[in-house]
């Protein structure tokens, strides 16, 4: 890098220059915007390497298994910087989400050493961990020789660190003292409302703050805004229907999926009176105000309907609303965000979170080198690069959330986004009970929800049947 460019990048990284000023000055020096981004990546990566032998794994080749996602785009945009810093070779396979986790399961269950590092969600580690497919990363985090002193593990949001650590005991509290760190948080999403400002203005309503208000606002939207349906939530026959808005609202009433007995046994908790009341509201909301083909809705349909102006709001991942406010969507610039506590008596929202994380394969032959890469990919410097230059939101590090450049950028383009996040973040965590039957039970929960919405079974009866089935499965697995 030439000295002038280097000085400008450094000034930008130090916060002395805005991104716009940097790009303008780079342009004057004949550097394109894309090249400027690369230079920023190199500059920030240099900061990561300071005081640490960044070349200790020079010549080692790693292979990553990645899901097609904006986080992956941010990684690839900055990967050359890592290669230059470390002298390592990094290759990767990218799969769309529809088949991604099948590929991970196939690779790990066959004990293949092909992939060293892969993207995962915290829930998946409840399967991968007990199966012995992934490595407890505490060994590396706590090893001063292998971990960069600048890595600053404590800077990672505490709720996310805890949510990705589990002791492997079914029902064991996440983040307990004996927990194993199965993965490192990379980017995360919490669940709140994203809504279309124009449609809300047209109906003369403001963002609802609880479930009762939500149903009232939906009723007003359905009469005052033609050609759209009021609220989008997921509905496919999958565990992914349960974890976003549904569980966030459910948990806000203090309801749980399972209860852990004094003897450590698990039992279903979906058929309490409180749970039944919440389910009744949720089912009514979908039947009266949701999309007609709700039972086929994944995050994709929920998001694109908001972006295309087919729905007035969604109760789903905040980053889904974020992405729908850009990228050439019809409603770009019209999306706003609001925190949502379903329970009117609750002090604050309690969003369940989805955490895209990085895990290390237990079958990797290059674990030290893999950890070297993981430190960089989950470090502050790459986080800042992604947050400032790309769509690497929500960041998992406090240092990135505190970054004025990032906050200014979000505040300018995504009004209300920071507020919904900041209000909700203290209560944001995984509200599921960690246990190996997670996917079986939540998929059955989603199927039951589908039956309730289709009026195939009344809510109370459906939940009693679900609870009975869950208890049988837990007992069969020796957990109940």
């Amino acid at each position: 890098m030439y000295e002038k460019e280097q000085d400008r990048v450094q000034a930008y990284l130090d916060g002395k220059m805005s991104r716009r000023e940097l790009l303008r000055s780079m342009s004057a020096l004949g550097v394109s915007a894309a090249a400027a981004s690369t230079l920023i990546g190199l500059g920030s990566t240099r900061a990561f390497a300071a005081g640490f032998d960044a070349m200790q794994h020079q010549g080692t080749a790693l292979k990553l298994l990645l899901n097609k996602h904006p986080y992956t785009d941010a990684l690839l945009a900055n990967l050359e910087a890592f290669k230059a810093m470390s002298g390592m070779e990094v290759t990767y396979d990218i799969f769309p989400e529809d088949v991604y986790f099948d590929k991970v399961t196939a690779a790990l269950s066959s004990r293949s050493s092909e992939y060293d590092v892969f993207m995962t969600g915290a829930y998946m580690t409840w399967t991968y961990g007990p199966a012995g497919w992934i490595t407890d990363l505490n060994e590396w985090i706590q090893d001063g020789d292998k971990t960069n002193p600048n890595y600053n593990w404590a800077d990672m949001l505490a709720g996310l660190r805890a949510s990705t650590a589990w002791n492997g005991i079914p029902g064991g509290a996440l983040g307990s003292a004996d927990a194993k760190q199965w993965c490192i948080p990379w980017g995360y999403e919490l669940n709140n409302l994203s809504y279309n400002r124009n449609m809300f203005d047209q109906a003369g309503v403001s963002a609802p703050t609880n479930m009762g208000e939500l149903l009232e606002v939906c009723a007003k939207l359905s009469t005052d805004v033609e050609g759209v349906y009021p609220i989008g939530v997921r509905g496919s026959r999958s565990w992914a229907t349960i974890h976003p808005g549904f569980l966030s609202g459910y948990s806000n009433f203090g309801e749980r999926d399972l209860t852990v007995g004094d003897d450590g046994t698990l039992s279903a908790a979906m058929n309490t009176d409180g749970s039944k009341a919440f389910h009744r509201d949720w089912v009514k909301m979908i039947q009266e105000y949701g999309p007609k083909n709700w039972s086929t809705y994944t995050w994709y349909q929920v998001g694109t309907d908001l972006g295309a102006g087919a729905s007035a709001m969604i109760f789903d991942a905040d980053i889904l609303g974020y992405f729908m406010n850009g990228g050439g969507n019809k409603e770009t610039g019209n999306i706003a965000y609001a925190p949502f506590a379903a329970n009117p008596a609750a002090d604050a929202p309690t969003p369940n979170v989805w955490i895209w994380s990085l895990s290390m394969s237990n079958f990797s032959q290059k674990k030290d080198a893999a950890w070297h890469f993981m430190q960089w990919a989950t470090g502050v410097e790459h986080g800042l690069f992604g947050a400032q230059q790309m769509d690497f939101v929500n960041p998992v590090r406090q240092a990135v959330w505190d970054d004025s450049t990032f906050r200014a950028r979000i505040d300018e383009t995504y009004p209300g986004y920071l507020h919904q996040h900041d209000v909700s973040a203290p209560g944001a965590q995984i509200y599921f009970t960690a246990q190996p039957l997670f996917f079986d039970l939540t998929t059955e929960w989603a199927a039951t929800l589908q039956k309730m919405v289709a009026n195939e079974v009344p809510v109370d009866e459906g939940l009693d049947m679900l609870a009975e089935s869950v208890n049988n499965q837990l007992a069969d697995a020796g957990l109940g």
Binding site: P130, A131, W294, S295, T296, D305, A447
Partner: protein, 296 residues
């Protein structure tokens, strides 16, 4: 001496590739049987043990299994039956080898060239209540609130439509080939005698075409009872358990629940059903062939 050895070894050498293929098939098959006799979940490795027939015995009292069996058989029966009727009808219409008929028969093959999963996604868009052209068409004839695959009462109909759209051309092309290869003499004699068309169809065409019908139906049956892609892409087996067929259930048990034992047992039950059905078909086909040879 060497010649004698070669002569003796030749049959074995010639059958070696078939033997290797057979072994290649039997190894995973044997493994599946072995797994199906185990309590084997990847996420509960400490519980792994032989439980012999317990996975199968549990099916007897499992309402979900019986639902899966019922849905799989209903889906298979309806798709094969409807595709056979439609395919035969179209083949009869295109029976005469004219330039127009040949062009149309090629055109009708296009859906067969579409990957079923892609066809399912295409139909998913066409049946979208917000902008789907089929939803719009349904609204014009009074079905304003048609929910297609999202509603348990219409979900089966929707996936049947996709299957029929994709696979009817397969039936059509096999039956068309059969129709065009039938000997002309019986038809010419019937025409000379002034035999009514319905009599010709039921007493000459259909019996002579039966081996082709059985072959085409067998191919479709084997494929249909193992249906996965259309149903998974459209509803993942839902709404509820409305479309839960064997392959989807086995897939979910393996990849989502990592319950290898149950998944393998489900697939072996499917194999037994497929084996019985194909045996019935093949025996019927052989019987008809013998009849035809005897008559000849």
């Amino acid at each position: 001496m060497r010649d004698a050895f070669r002569r003796r070894a030749l049959p074995y050498l010639l059958s070696l590739p078939a033997l290797l293929v057979c072994i290649g098939i039997l190894i995973p098959f044997g493994t599946a049987i072995y797994y199906s006799l185990q309590r084997y979940r990847l996420n509960l490795p400490h519980l792994r043990k032989m439980n012999w027939g317990e996975n199968y015995l549990k099916f007897l009292t499992d309402s979900e299994f019986w639902n899966t069996l019922q849905v799989s058989l209903a889906y298979t029966g309806l798709t094969v039956g409807l595709e056979l009727l439609l395919g035969l009808g179209i083949a009869l219409l295109l029976q005469r080898s004219t330039r127009f008929n040949n062009f149309v028969s090629i055109l009708l093959l296009l859906p067969l060239m579409t990957a079923p999963a892609l066809a399912a996604l295409m139909w998913k868009l066409m049946t979208n209540p917000n902008f789907g052209i089929l939803s719009y068409a349904a609204s014009l004839v009074g079905f304003e609130d048609m929910k297609w695959a999202s509603d348990p009462s219409t979900a089966l109909l929707t996936v049947l439509l996709v299957d029929i759209w994709v696979y009817t051309p397969f039936m059509m092309i096999l039956l068309l080939a059969g129709l065009r290869s039938l000997p002309r003499q019986p038809f010419e004699a019937a025409a000379l005698d002034g035999v009514p068309r319905t009599f010709v169809f039921f007493r000459i065409t259909l019996p002579m075409l039966t081996p082709y019908i059985i072959t085409a139906s067998l191919f479709r049956l084997l494929d249909s009872i193992q249906q996965f892609d259309i149903i998974y892409a459209m509803t993942q087996g839902g709404p509820g358990d409305t479309l839960m067929v064997f392959q989807v259930e086995a897939y979910l048990q393996f990849f989502q629940a990592t319950n290898i034992g149950k998944s393998a047992a489900l697939l072996l039950v499917l194999w037994v059903i497929t084996f019985i059905l194909s045996n019935l078909f093949v025996k019927q086909w052989l019987r008809l062939r013998e009849q035809a040879q005897g008559a000849g």
